[in-house]
Symmetry: C2
Subunit: 235 residues, 2 copies
Amino acid sequence: MTERTPSEASRDIPEATVARLPVYLRALTGLSEAGTATCSSEHLATAAGVNSAMLRKDLSHLGSYGTRGVGYDVEYLRYQIAREIGVTQDWPVVIVGIGNLGHALANFSGFRSRGFRVVALLDADPRRHQEVVAGVDVRPFSDLEAIVHEHGVAIGVISTPAPAAQDVADHMVAAGIRSILNFAPTVLAVPPGVDVRKVDLSIELQILAYHEQRKALGAAAVERPVDGALEGRPA
Amino acid sequence: MTERTPSEASRDIPEATVARLPVYLRALTGLSEAGTATCSSEHLATAAGVNSAMLRKDLSHLGSYGTRGVGYDVEYLRYQIAREIGVTQDWPVVIVGIGNLGHALANFSGFRSRGFRVVALLDADPRRHQEVVAGVDVRPFSDLEAIVHEHGVAIGVISTPAPAAQDVADHMVAAGIRSILNFAPTVLAVPPGVDVRKVDLSIELQILAYHEQRKALGAAAVERPVDGALEGRPA
DNA sequence: CTCGGTTTGTTCTCGCGTTCACAAACTCCT
DNA sequence: AGGAGTTTGTGAACGCGAGAACAAACCGAG
């Protein structure tokens, strides 16, 4: 096993590794712009904020790029990771729901610079159809299927309010989109074969709040130890 | 072990469970608004998009709320989870970096409705200091420490461009903030005891792109089976 | 009061992900 | 050429999380 033929190695990369590859890619881009030609796993791992052993294992899943005793060629590794992720090609993307968040997403330069091209902005509200955001005009949601077929869109972004999200997702799937990035705070039901990733801003804050509360509780427990049953039980 | 005193049970909840509690909370709020008084683990799990066994195990970590043969009291469980997360109290939040994304975050109603209150918007650019966003006026970044102390801010949100993020984080930590939600595409270095969660929009898209490429490759392999060494290579 | 039906809480098992530790391999210096 | 120093790639150990399965507990009918 562990053949170094790309198509061999590119089989079954662990999900956790896939989620970190973009971080490595970003770190490598930074090193490249800084003029670094070669880097060790330790160096790159620090830049990516991970353990060096984990980095090496992650990279080993895509092949044996790297030279023992030397390190990794920044440009070469960057290209290999980009190819593995698939961002050497351009991905046309459509954004549905042009509210505050949709505006921000449409203007986000990080998409363009990382292989994604926003080909259309859609909104159900006719009052938004006059607008032009980030050089792209907002079109009616009913144009979705035509746009998907015209540009070969494979990835859709949902930034609508929660109640509209499922309907939008259904239409996306019907139009042939198989990858959805969902910013609406709702659980989406999609048929098998369709990937959904969700980004929920308030969930992240709530996780922080939990730990923050924990810290405060821990500090309070030092002052006044123990004591449990207090707030529970209306039943 | 497994005492049901809240303070006992609230020790060491697995991180994976913590990340799902907000989802359950959202699902319960939905059920509550729909007028549902009681629900089974199966019902709630479906609403939250998870397995019922996992839901029960998650809930068991915070205590034995729920009645065998009956299910969970929606309101009661909702309160217990909210208390466990810490969103029964209000968390003052400060947002730094009022660009497109900062605007969207400041206007995001989901924060307010889930126990978070934006007490200040900060930006280093003086041209933005005249603006009023979502009823809050944009103030200079140098006001950070004063605001943190005045309002007892424990959570900071960074929505600046990447190059400014580390500096902002440093000032936040210096001002006493111990929880940071970072939207800038950079790895933040913070001292131990400070929690950082990151949301990177382009990383999510890249993960989708990887799987999308995979699907396309798989489909191609069906047409033309086998054969390995093709795309790799610029040694 | 007893019994059948239902649902929770928990135990057990399995697989994945992370970390450690080391052999293999490369460079550079003598 | 040979050896010392470095760094990668990987095998093995460990811990955590997910799912299946089951006993305990509760309700309601008779």
